[in-house]
């Protein structure tokens, strides 16, 4: 394709990408470098039903609004928000380092910092859920491919259910069932013969449930893609493998999997990004005591109830993007290599 026509070909999507992806990210980046103007405070008399009239500190809304109108972006803060205690906490880490005697002590202090605690869970979730979700999806695809035609429709419907249900609703339903008064929670207590067993009160169990939920909800996407891919596996190769005496497992291992690898790369890319942005199950399972994620911190910062910290939310968003890029690096490098090898 000549360069000119290629340019026109991609122009609409390029414009859309600049408008809806690049520009917003740019504005978030700018936002993350600024903090609000100093609030102008004054003492005024306040009368309320309890305690009568007292002198209280209030924001001088007029003066503060005037300041804001003059410079809407706020004060330039450089990387201050990135490095403060609620994010990378460089100062605190340096202090912990000099104060802690051992690595264990140091790590336990660092893991109490909100950003690192969230990062720990986010990475663990991504690394566990992505491969397991892909494997489960692949297994379902193989199974569905083998079952008789009459059963296919219903089985596909059931396997797609996790994708059809809104994630928040799905996690709420499971939360109620797994609650120590729910049907699954009670069943677990009965199986373990421990009436005090409860998922909400145990960190490892909460993580395990969130992981299982993640795998459940991630599997249908891999299943759909792999199932489509399975229809394109060359029957000749499969048959010749059968004639050579390959078992079913060997056919899957040496014929089907190599054929589906490019698809697996694509699925891994999408799933890594999705899983790194985990949010709904934490909200749905009421699990913020045991597990928080980077997206959860952003969500929390943007809640107006907490005074909407736009700079904080922007800084965490930028770091999330950075981590996603780092995570995707191996997959991207691989794709690039495949791409540059092909023409040769």
């Amino acid at each position: 394709m000549p360069h000119r026509s290629f340019l026109f070909f991609i122009l609409p999507s390029a414009i859309a990408m600049i408008l809806f992806i690049a520009l917003p990210i740019g504005s978030v980046l700018v936002q993350s470098l600024f903090v609000e103007h100093g609030q102008i405070l004054h003492e005024v008399e306040t009368c309320s039903p309890f305690g009568g009239c007292t002198t209280e500190t209030r924001v001088d809304a007029e003066a503060t609004n005037a300041l804001r109108a003059a410079q809407p972006l706020g004060r330039f803060n450089g990387l201050g928000t990135y490095l403060n205690r609620n994010h990378l906490a460089t100062g605190e880490i340096a202090a912990f380092w000099s104060a802690s005697g051992s690595w264990g002590q140091f790590w336990s202090r660092v893991s109490q910092l909100p950003f690192y605690r969230a990062l720990g869970f986010t990475i663990a979730y991504t690394l566990v859920v992505t491969p397991c979700g892909i494997a489960l999806g692949f297994w379902i695809a193989l199974a569905v491919n083998r079952i008789p035609k009459v059963l296919k429709g219903p089985v596909i419907f059931v396997s797609l259910l996790p994708m059809i249900i809104t994630p928040l609703i799905g996690s709420l339903v499971l939360y109620w069932m797994l609650n120590s008064r729910g049907i699954l929670g009670r069943a677990l207590q009965w199986i373990a013969d421990d009436p005090t067993l409860s998922i909400g009160s145990s960190g490892p169990l909460t993580w395990a449930v969130l992981f299982l939920y993640g795998i459940w909800i991630a599997a249908p996407f891999s299943f759909v893609v792999f199932y489509a891919g399975l229809q394109t596996v060359p029957q000749d190769t499969l048959e010749s493998a059968m004639i050579d005496g390959a078992s079913r497992w060997e056919r899957v291992r040496f014929v089907v999997i190599p054929h589906l690898v490019p698809l697996a790369t694509f699925v891994a890319l999408v799933q890594l990004m999705d899983n790194f942005r985990v949010l709904e199950p934490i909200v749905g399972f009421n699990a913020q005591a045991r597990a928080t994620s980077l997206s959860f911190i952003i969500f929390n910062d943007l809640k107006a109830e907490n005074g909407q910290l736009f700079g904080s939310a922007a800084a965490t968003s930028m770091m999330t993007i950075l981590f996603v890029v780092i995570l995707l690096m191996p997959v991207l490098i691989r794709t690039w290599r495949d791409f540059s090898r092909k023409p040769a």
Binding site: L41, C47, N286, A289, N300
Partner: protein, 412 residues
């Protein structure tokens, strides 16, 4: 009345605007758009406000628990999305900080004859909000379980609550007799604020935005809360006030620290929980040791009118709200809430909160309190999980608050 029947009643009223109009008597035209929290007592007010819809006056009500997240963005635009924000003392400062509420002096003078001076919230000499009910947490006691355990005196301090809980457990009646709302976030922070108020602690250094919770009172408050968790369901870190009141209704607890606004259904012997309701007794929130301050911050619920709306809409909205909180409400629904409305006589459901008014401390309304509340909500969790000492947790709160306050421009 169940919510369903209330909604149907509201729907019916909406179908018959002409009949309702005369009753409401709004002068002039305008649009009334209300943003409110979602609990039973406010349903009663909103039902009346809804009935004001008629020719020239349109009414829409959005009742949601997310109201605190919506109000600032929704009132910042011009014209504002809502004309009335139903607020409490903790949700008024964000509106004041941004100058989104209008002074009500003229409207009160013209249409507010029914209001008592106690209902008017004056800031810098101007009326910025009108309060109509008192809220706060207090103790719920199961009389039958106390009788069975042989406890004769009602607990007046948290120390006594712990003793009573131990007696109930030892008697084999309930393994986890205590219920409270310790879900991380807003509710856990609220419980700390209650206990810290009872200890007589200060949240900020006087006259500044510098945090002061890392204090002996703070540590004592956390230690008392931790001692209480011994007697709570092991899932306590996932239980909020909604779940808590359901657990109470299901008879799973004998001592509960819950909201006054939740009391109505829980003591209604013809409601959802007749057996538990008959045995539920309401008393003041306990104090700590001999300090004598009830361990529950006091709240008022009221409303403000948006700044960014036409004067016409503001007048219609104010009149609709006046009809909503008219003295007839307190007479028709005396058990609906602890009204601050003229002519209201406290009933059985208000006993607990009225007892709190004696010596109780109001929830702090400094402009940076929301940042402190949110820092408490996220940073105290580690202490309850045993990952941090009380002092480390409070250091964490101060550090998290400081970082947020610097970003918002309250601290340098």
């Amino acid at each position: 009345m169940t919510r369903l029947s209330r909604i149907s009643a509201a729907a019916l009223l909406a179908l018959a605007p002409a009949a309702a109009l005369a009753e409401c008597g709004i002068e002039g035209d305008g649009s009334v758009r209300v943003l409110a929290n979602d609990f039973n007592a406010l349903d009663l007010v909103m039902e009346r406000v809804n009935s004001c819809a008629g020719d020239g006056v349109t009414v829409s009500v959005n009742q949601t628990e997310e109201h605190k997240n919506l109000q600032v963005p929704a009132l910042s635009i011009n014209p504002a999305e809502y004309t009335v924000a139903v607020i409490a003392n903790n949700s008024l400062p964000p509106l004041l900080n941004a100058g989104l509420a209008r002074p009500l002096d003229d409207l009160v003078a013209e249409y507010g004859d029914q209001l008592t001076d106690q209902q008017l919230i004056r800031i810098d000499g101007k009326i910025m909000a009108v309060a109509f009910m008192v809220n706060g947490q207090h103790l719920f006691i199961r009389q039958d379980i106390f009788d069975e355990a042989g406890i004769e005196e009602m607990p007046a301090t948290w120390e006594e609550v712990l003793e009573d809980a131990q007696i109930i457990r030892d008697a084999g009646l309930i393994e986890y007799p205590l219920v409270s709302s310790y879900a991380p976030g807003w509710e856990l922070a609220e419980e700390f604020i209650n206990m810290y108020s009872a200890e007589g602690g200060q949240f900020f250094a006087p006259g500044s935005a510098e945090p002061a919770v890392n204090s002996p009172e703070g540590i004592a408050a956390l230690e008392m809360m931790k001692a209480m968790t011994e007697f709570m369901d092991p899932d306590y870190l996932t239980i909020g006030s909604l779940e808590g009141s359901k657990m109470w209704g299901a008879g799973e607890a004998a001592i509960g620290q819950l909201w006054a606004s939740q009391a109505g259904p829980l003591i209604d012997t013809e409601g959802d929980y007749p057996e538990v309701a008959a045995e539920t007794v309401l008393i003041a929130a306990p104090s700590v040791a001999d300090k004598g301050i009830p361990g529950a911050a006091l709240f008022w619920d009221g409303f403000s009118i948006a700044q960014n709306i036409s004067d016409e809409d503001a007048a219609a909205s104010f009149q609709a709200m006046m009809y909503g909180i008219a003295p007839e409400l307190a007479q028709e629904e005396p058990t609906g809430a602890s009204w601050m409305i003229e002519g209201y006589e406290p009933t059985a459901n208000a006993v607990g909160i009225v007892a709190n008014l004696e010596g109780g401390v109001a929830y702090p309304t400094t402009p940076f309190m929301d940042l402190m509340h949110s820092a408490l909500g996220t940073e105290l969790v580690d202490y309850f999980q045993g990952n941090e000492s009380a002092e480390q947790a409070l250091e964490g709160v101060e550090a998290a608050y400081t970082a947020a306050a610097q970003e918002r421009g309250f601290l340098n």
